[in-house]
């Protein structure tokens, strides 16, 4: 479901003498349906860079990223917009929403974008928020005022609202207490059970051991420094 082949990436810093900084080369991995693959490697090794390339907000210099029947590395913006609507989900570490929009709607939004009737979408959102222990009195408020842990749970609820066949998870359990961590791990296990292909970054080693079927160390994708 996610297939990455010989992927490379470099940044060109035009405002620093057009310095070209190669950050990745020869990255290859695959994630089968129902499988969760964890990316490992030190901070700065390129885990997030790789995730962003799959999501499509970082451009690839070369190689292929097959997800949901398209090659994200060469797809048009329009194809990527459609991919993100129904086939690829992303739980990032940051909640980026229009201020003032109530939490329930933030979570229901991916479903509304797919044309799900508002009542159905909101019922699903409510179910997830309840599971993730966001008190009902907060549902009508914007999550921008919430604590870090609450925001993260809202982000998770949003990412799991639609059963995407492919999912990217960036530290989904990072700032959660034991109870909510358990809820998230169970959501991940359920997603795997329904056949989702999941690529994730987990600093939480116990979580990683529990949900990941394989680990890929991105240090192997670091460009070799020319002698």
């Amino acid at each position: 479901m996610i297939l990455i082949e010989d992927l490379s990436k470099s940044f060109t810093l035009h405002n620093q003498g057009a310095a070209v900084i190669p950050v990745m080369e020869g990255a290859s991995l695959s994630v089968a349906p129902g499988e969760c693959v964890g990316l490992t490697g030190q901070s700065g090794a390129g885990k997030s860079t790789l995730m962003r390339m799959v999501w499509g907000n970082y451009l690839a210099a070369g190689g292929r990223i097959m997800v949901g029947g398209i090659d994200v590395a060469t797809a048009s913006p329009r194809e990527i917009i459609a991919l993100r609507r129904d086939r690829l989900g992303y739980v990032s570490q940051f909640l980026r929403v229009v201020p003032r929009v109530p939490t329930l709607e933030v979570v229901a939004e991916p479903l509304l974008a797919l044309g799900t009737p508002p009542e159905t979408a909101k019922a699903r959102a409510a179910e997830l928020l309840r599971q993730l222990n966001i008190p009902e009195r907060l549902w009508g408020l914007s999550p921008t005022t919430f604590s870090g842990g609450e925001q993260q749970r809202v982000n998770i609820a949003r990412g799991f609202a639609h059963p995407y066949p492919a999912l990217l998870l960036d530290e989904p359990t990072a700032s959660l207490d034991a109870t909510n961590r358990e809820v998230v791990l169970r959501l991940i296990e359920e997603a795997k059970a329904r056949g989702a292909a999941i690529l994730g970054i987990f600093h939480d080693e116990a979580a990683r051991a529990r949900v990941c079927d394989r680990l890929v160390d991105v240090t192997g994708f670091t460009p070799k420094v020319a002698a």
Partner: protein, 262 residues
């Protein structure tokens, strides 16, 4: 909102196709060789500093200025070859234009209800009760209380005026909406409310929108795709978060890195 028609957001035909669009002011370039496709349900953001050509481009697209070169195809019709009457009919029915300053898009001497109803009458609505009912419905959608229907826009706050302008523009069910800095000059909290409203309308009505702004936070939240202009030319275009997170052009890199927390 339940009665709104949901429109399939994917379609294989672009609603608007722009090719090689160029406008000169004497020897100076307004915009040069601009091209893009806009599909139904898509929001295209155009950013750049003042003088970058973004407003000239919007004016050419909306038919307020005549480009010197290029082609504009709307729903398979050649816009530049159209008779003036036909183009005017389009801008009254299928197109809408939201001005930065609501005073440019509203009739200040006419009641809120009249501002909305007038647009309906311009496209042939004649039944007073029906017009008032629809006007009321639209004021509700943009969150203007029903008891303000007979008030004049001059009595409204800036944010309310902008929402009224949006209601006036959308009441006739346009398919393509041009917006020139629609949230400019508004308080941040009012801006957020307007953004939320616009997002909901785009999603529920399947609108295609071209929005010109210098506010990168606004395009991040509203636009699917982004076009960056400098000196009248498009220097970069792509998926909004790709252009903002991994800008390729020197100018875009400066633009993005100059902003506090986009």
């Amino acid at each position: 909102m339940g009665m709104m028609e949901r429109v399939a957001v994917t379609s294989d035909q672009p609603l608007l196709r722009v090719e090689g669009l160029t406008k000169r002011y004497g020897s100076r370039i307004g915009c040069a060789d601009v091209g893009f496709d806009l599909y139904p349900g898509e929001v295209l953001g155009i950013v750049g500093e003042s003088g970058s050509g973004k407003s000239t481009l919007l004016s050419c697209l909306a038919g307020h200025l005549r480009p010197d070169e290029g082609a504009i195809t709307y729903d398979r019709r050649d816009v530049l070859a159209m008779a003036e009457t036909e183009r005017r009919r389009l801008s009254r029915t299928e197109w809408a234009y939201v001005h930065q300053n609501p005073r440019d898009g509203l009739r200040m001497g006419v009641s809120a209800g009249g501002n909305v109803g007038e647009r309906l009458m311009a496209v042939g609505a004649r039944h007073y009760g029906g017009i008032r009912e629809q006007a009321q419905d639209w004021l509700g959608r943009v969150e203007i209380a029903a008891d303000r229907i007979d008030d004049r826009p001059a009595q409204f706050s800036g944010g309310m005026q902008q929402r009224l302008q949006i209601a006036r523009n959308l009441v006739t069910g346009p398919r393509l909406v041009f917006m020139d800095e629609p949230t400019g000059g508004l308080d941040v909290s009012v801006q957020a409310r307007l953004l939320d409203l616009l997002r909901g309308l785009v999603r529920d009505l399947g609108l295609s929108v071209i929005i010109v702004t210098h506010d990168l936070a606004v395009v991040r939240l509203l636009a699917h795709r982004l076009m960056v202009m400098k000196g009248g030319r498009v220097v970069e275009q792509g998926l909004t978060d790709q252009v903002l997170d991994d800008p390729q052009h020197a100018y875009t890199q400066i633009l993005v890195s100059s902003v506090l927390q986009v």
